[in-house]
């Protein structure tokens, strides 16, 4: 008869320990590798994105030939209210301040519009809708999360802009064929709807059933339970969804370029006026450009990264403020 005690030899255990050490090292290496990409990205964008502020580029224009360009002034770049003063290739007077503000406005409004709809849709799917309908809607949400954004853009162009023109009609306002801040906001909020809905739905669904029972047993109605207990308990998941949504909204370019009107200068506060975001500005004309006009897009990337980091941190802060203490 076998005795396990014979198997547990010193050598066996030593071998096990070695394997253990190696595997753990591999796991750690993976983690460091995963983390290193953000460094690579930042270094890479910084490398290209800082050079417009440091170097004298050579510009060219078919009328004036080659000219030397001054480095871009970082202050006026960050505060500038128009994209480019002067002629492409002959000027380094780039400005992005207006687009930073416009981006924040667009993303903020898109989130304001999208979050209630997404969260209530998620609640609807997870708790209210009959099972069949819920399953169908869940699948549709997952499908929509994978549609390329240009399709959303064309949808915006075909449907949303018409709607905006219709709305503007009431105010007797002449829009740019519906290309506007409002269209951009609507298209973006539709785009991030699946993301926020999917993530929120998962966390709403996984709210511990015992606290739901607890609420009902106290004589709360189902609606009160959803609003006061379920949503509170699912808060962290909903915030995770919002953060993903903000990321997607900030990073979106193709759809925005189609419906925003690509405003060239100025902060847009009129919902019916055209606007522009950092990413769409970054992508506009990037395919066929060189020199400073190409590298300056990496400077936008740098600004964009900063906006993302700051937004993320402040969202996290708000999240902690709003209810971190109730997490276990």
């Amino acid at each position: 008869m076998i005795s396990i005690r014979d198997v547990v030899t010193k050598e066996n255990i030593k071998r096990k320990n070695t394997i253990d050490g190696v595997t753990q090292a591999i796991f750690m290496a993976s983690a460091i590798l995963s983390a290193s990409f953000i460094v690579l990205i930042i270094v890479f964008i910084a490398f290209k994105g800082l050079s417009p502020f440091l170097l004298n580029y050579e510009g060219y224009n078919f009328q004036q030939g080659t000219v030397d360009l001054d480095p871009v002034n970082p202050i006026s770049f960050l505060t500038g209210s128009q994209w480019l003063g002067g002629t492409l290739g002959l000027s380094s007077d780039y400005g992005i301040g207006f687009a930073i503000i416009n981006t924040l406005i667009v993303v903020f409004l898109a989130i304001m519009l999208s979050v209630p709809v997404s969260v209530f849709t998620a609640l609807f799917i997870a708790k209210v809708a009959p099972k069949r309908l819920a399953n169908v809607m869940r699948t549709v949400v997952e499908l929509l999360a994978s549609i390329p954004s240009i399709i959303y853009g064309v949808f915006g162009l075909g449907i949303i802009t018409q709607f905006v023109v219709f709305v503007a009609g009431f105010f007797d306002y002449q829009t740019a064929a519906g290309l506007s801040l409002l269209s951009t906001v609507i298209v973006l909020s539709i785009m991030i709807l699946p993301t926020i809905t999917a993530v929120s739905e998962t966390s709403i669904r996984s709210v511990d059933k015992t606290i739901i029972d607890g609420s009902l047993a106290l004589g709360a109605s189902d609606i009160q339970t959803y609003m006061k207990v379920v949503l509170t308990a699912a808060k962290s998941g909903i915030f995770a969804g919002i953060i993903l949504g903000v990321g997607r909204a900030l990073g979106e370019a193709t759809a925005v370029a189609l419906v925003s009107g690509n405003l060239f200068a100025g902060i847009q506060l009129n919902p019916l006026g055209t606007t522009a975001t950092l990413t769409s500005r970054m992508l506009l004309g990037i395919k066929d450009t060189t020199g400073i006009d190409y590298d300056i897009r990496f400077s936008i990337g740098l600004v964009l990264m900063a906006v993302i980091v700051i937004t993320n941190l402040s969202l996290n802060f708000v999240m902690k403020r709003l209810g971190g203490i109730h997490e276990q």
């Binding site: 606290i211 047993a217 106290l218 006061k228 509170t232 203490i325």
Partner: protein, 251 residues
């Protein structure tokens, strides 16, 4: 004898399987009634009939006659929310809401539309006092209830229930997750509470049943084997199965 619940010929099915088999029972006002019996015999199922928590299980079907304070609690026009405000429930695992201690207690009253801050403050303090938790938490009302210890959480759940001033408090194994000291506190509390409330408690612990209850019901395989005054049931059980269970083993 003042009956608060009158149950007649109750049958309950989970899909195909019958979990409660033709049970009659009368629950007395301002008494502690204990449910005992081996695991899976239907204690939890039966106690949940009393505040219609089984309504939430889709495949669960029930028939029979259930009267609460003389009214058919399962009648079409009977308001289940009203029933649950009058028949409170404390669960086996403490289940505080992920909110502050204060908000946990104020939750029920707020759901009923109480908004006045002073009123709420008073309700919260009283409930916590009655559940013997006030002194331990009075300085941390705004902190999360999740930070309390298990026994404190369970007393919080009781306080939450008391805040609704129910007629009946149902408790499904309220101390099984707790240590002896916390258990002791909850038991003391139950004895105190029975002055004001009718209490129904499910327990695995025979001694607990013996110590705190006035009446005991012994279930087995969905049937009510024996039901009567606790001292009589433990001293001279009528049914051999009851005797076997309460003397057989364990303490």
């Amino acid at each position: 004898m003042d009956a608060i619940f009158e149950l007649k010929n109750i049958n309950l099915y989970y899909g195909q399987t019958q979990a409660i088999k033709g049970i009659d029972m009368t629950i007395e006002r301002n008494k502690v009634t204990a449910f005992i019996g081996p695991s899976g015999c239907g204690k939890s199922t039966f106690i949940r009939i009393l505040n219609r928590m089984n309504d939430l299980i889709p495949e669960c079907k029930i028939d029979g006659n259930i009267e609460f304070e003389g009214q058919n609690a399962y009648a079409k026009d009977y308001d289940v929310i009203e029933l649950r405000t009058k028949v409170g429930m404390v669960f086996q695992k403490p289940n505080p809401f992920p909110m502050s201690i204060y908000d946990n207690i104020a939750y029920g009253p707020r759901c009923q539309g109480v908004k006045n801050k002073a009123q709420l403050d008073e309700i919260v303090e009283q409930s916590l006092r009655r559940s013997a938790l006030w002194d331990e938490v009075k300085d941390r009302m705004k902190e999360s209830a999740m930070g309390l210890s298990g026994g404190q959480q369970q007393r919080l759940c009781i306080a939450r229930t008391i805040a609704m001033e129910p007629e009946v408090i149902l408790m499904d194994e309220p101390t099984s997750a707790l240590d002896p000291i916390a258990t002791q506190k909850i038991e003391d509390l139950i004895v105190e509470l029975k002055e004001l409330y009718t209490i129904v408690i499910v327990t695995h612990n025979m001694q607990q049943a013996a110590r705190i209850s006035d009446n005991t019901a012994f279930f087995m395989l969905g049937e009510l084997i024996e039901f009567g005054a606790t001292d009589k049931l433990f001293a001279t059980p009528q049914n051999p199965k009851t005797e076997e269970y309460i003397t057989g083993r364990f303490g």
